[in-house]
């Protein structure tokens, strides 16, 4: 144990429980992370409290002139059906965010459970689960998405299902690796030697130690999901009109880009802002909690 070692452990010891204050201090120091946090806050808040801001009904046709530019009444102008673009943009964030949180959230829960079982259970179960994870992962993502949508029809729930199924194996593998690294550690042996049940070991001693890296991974996946959802919306494979959705707005704007640039801007900027925000925040989380963690699988 040299002071070199001690310095090292002090650095990693930042990843510890009662350290929320320390974490916030770290985040305040990380400029890009702070920017990300602010952007994320803006996007999430506007999606939640959107109905309080919007000036017009986002799906009512012909509230104004078609494809108009910005004005005092229509802050970002109107689309080809005369709907208020500002209101549609604000409300259009709800779908991507809902998709991201629902799909990644369910992938997280299922991945966590399966990963813990694979990592802590008997060898044959581990092999079986790994085979299962790899089978899912071996499908090309887009083909898989198109197949599901063709089967279930384009809807928000199919998008959620596709993303949840394709992300789950990645999370499960991360949890499995972490669990395997920890299962032979002295403190897990110590718990077993005291007669603790497997459930107790997994819930009290394993879970809190594997969930951290997983959350970082998930936060870095959010922007990708937003982009995928927008992409599907753009291709007309996402939610059905007239529900406002960034991808759909972008698609409209693309069709009428010769008449007005405002639709593309209104659909594109929030996607950029949300993606950048979550990316910066995710990277900051990773740097703060675990500088060594990369997306290694």
């Amino acid at each position: 144990m040299t002071s070199i070692d001690t310095i090292g452990t002090e650095a990693t010891a930042r990843h510890n429980p009662g350290a929320l204050g320390a974490f916030l201090r770290q985040l305040l120091k990380n400029r890009l992370g702070m920017l990300g946090a602010v952007l994320v806050l803006v996007v999430v808040a506007s999606a939640i409290f959107g109905p309080l801001f919007i000036t017009h009904d986002p799906i009512r046709i012909m509230v104004g002139p078609r494809l108009a530019g910005p004005s005092a009444d229509f802050l970002l102008g109107t689309d080809q059906l005369g709907r208020d673009t500002f209101s549609r943009t604000i409300m259009g964030g709800r779908i991507p965010l809902l998709v991201a949180f629902a799909s990644l959230g369910s992938a997280l829960v299922v991945g966590l459970v399966l990963g813990l079982i694979a990592g802590f259970g008997p060898g044959w179960l581990d092999s079986l689960l790994l085979l299962f994870f790899d089978t899912i992962r071996s499908f090309p993502g887009i083909i898989f998405a198109l197949a599901i949508i063709a089967l279930l029809g384009p809807s928000m729930s199919s998008v959620i299902l596709v993303i949840a199924i394709t992300s789950m194996p990645i999370y499960a593998r991360v949890v499995r690796t972490q669990t395997q690294a920890l299962r032979n550690s002295d403190y897990i042996d110590a718990e077993r030697s005291m007669g603790a049940s497997t459930m107790r070991i997994l819930a009290v001693h394993m879970l809190p130690n594997v969930v951290g890296p997983l959350l970082i991974l998930v936060s870095m996946d959010v922007p990708a999901v937003i982009a995928v959802e927008a992409g599907l919306g753009f291709l007309g494979m996402g939610v059905r009109p007239p529900t406002p959705d960034w991808g759909a707005i972008l698609n409209d704007g693309y069709s009428y880009i010769n008449q007005t640039p405002w639709l593309v801007i209104a659909g594109g900027i929030p996607i950029v802002v949300a993606t950048l925000g979550f990316t910066f925040l995710g990277e900051a989380l990773r740097d703060i909690f675990d500088p060594k963690l990369r997306k290694d699988l």
Binding site: S185, Y187, H205
Partner: protein, 353 residues
């Protein structure tokens, strides 16, 4: 006097390869004997040390007793009850009465629990109702000489010595009859090692606990253990009272081990018995007496026949397995003695090599 823990002819095997690989490579026996034919007893309130180098199987014995590792054959009796073959639920009640301390002082504490939760973990696991967990944690902390407000700390906020004390406190939480201490001083500085050993000794005197110490550190053994057993390649080669063995080791390996203990005195004359080579792999266990490949007294018979256990004539508790045990004549003074009196000026060192 009845034994608290009695281990008879214990055998533990490890798999070296998967059954499929064994089949394809034509290996008939894909196992190694990590522990073979080990027998010893621990009486109430007594300290026994299992001594050996890495790979001697001493930690495996501890893990088998506590149930982390299955035994192939043999018997482990705790207070007269057989532990081998018990289901996890049946074994659980014995885990209140015998507890184990693991090597890594900090690493054996669950990193996200406070010291208070760590100390009350045993009572939670065994469903012992404690009215006030905070008070219980404080009682345990005081017992091991730590301030009561340590309960709020996390393991990474403890020094090695403090973490070890917490480990001792946790082991004592449910008033056990036996503590198994795996390298209780590993990773601790010499100034802290003494503290931990003194603490264990004091608690043993106060509470009458039996201790099984697993260690390679002979200095720990000398001060802590009533009896000691020396292990080599999964077997006990010599067992007896600590003083008896330190004074008069009968097995050549014991003799070499005892002499390989550098003392902080540059002028000490060492009658060191340096053994050649390294511990053989368990995959290629030597025939006959396993130590014959490194033994300087080895003869032809040693490579063929495993020596029967023999006892010291004047101390039947002192037993060893050797065809040619050391006698008083071969016994050399292991204790290093100062060659130059302190008063002689350091500059006059002559030092024949």
């Amino acid at each position: 006097m009845s034994a608290l823990l009695s281990v008879q002819d214990l055998r533990v095997r490890f798999r070296t390869m998967g059954s499929l690989k064994a089949l394809t490579t034509g290996t008939a026996d894909p196992f190694i004997d990590a522990v073979c034919g080990v027998s010893f007893e621990i009486r109430k309130g007594e300290t026994l040390a299992l001594v050996g180098e890495s790979g001697s199987g001493k930690s495996t014995i501890a893990r088998t007793i506590i149930g982390l590792q299955p035994a192939v054959s043999g018997s482990i009796r705790f207070d007269g009850e057989e532990l081998i073959g018990l289901k996890a639920a049946e074994r659980k009640s014995y885990l209140r009465r015998m507890t184990m301390m693991f090597q890594d002082p900090v690493g054996s504490l669950s990193p996200r629990l406070t010291v208070q939760s760590l100390l009350t973990e045993p009572s939670r696991i065994h469903g012992v109702s404690t009215r006030d967990r905070g008070a219980e944690a404080e009682r345990l902390l005081r017992m091991v000489g730590l301030p009561g407000d340590f309960g709020r700390r996390y393991p990474h906020q403890l020094s090695g010595g403090q973490a070890r004390r917490v480990g001792v406190a946790r082991a004592l939480a449910l008033n056990p009859d036996l503590i198994i201490a795996d390298e209780p001083t590993a990773g601790l500085d010499v100034s802290v090692q003494g503290e931990v050993l003194n603490l264990l000794a004091r608690l043993q005197d106060e509470l009458g606990i039996a201790i099984l110490i697993i260690t390679h550190n002979l200095n720990v053994v000398r001060h802590m253990a009533d009896r000691m057993a020396i292990m080599y390649l999964g077997r006990i080669v010599e067992i007896g009272s600590t003083e008896g063995i330190f004074d008069y080791p009968r097995h050549p390996y014991t003799q070499a081990l005892l002499s390989a203990n550098p003392v902080p005195d540059p002028d000490a004359v060492l009658n060191r018995i340096e053994i050649k080579g390294e511990v053989p792999s368990m995959l290629r266990r030597p025939s006959g007496c396993e130590f014959h490949t490194r033994c300087r007294y080895a003869q032809e018979i040693c490579s063929r026949i495993f020596p029967e256990p023999a006892a010291n004539p004047d101390d039947v508790e002192h037993r060893f397995k050797c065809h040619f045990p050391l006698t008083c004549e071969t016994k050399v003074a292991l204790e290093p003695r100062p060659r130059i009196p302190d008063s002689i000026n350091a500059v006059s060192g002559d030092g024949p090599e």
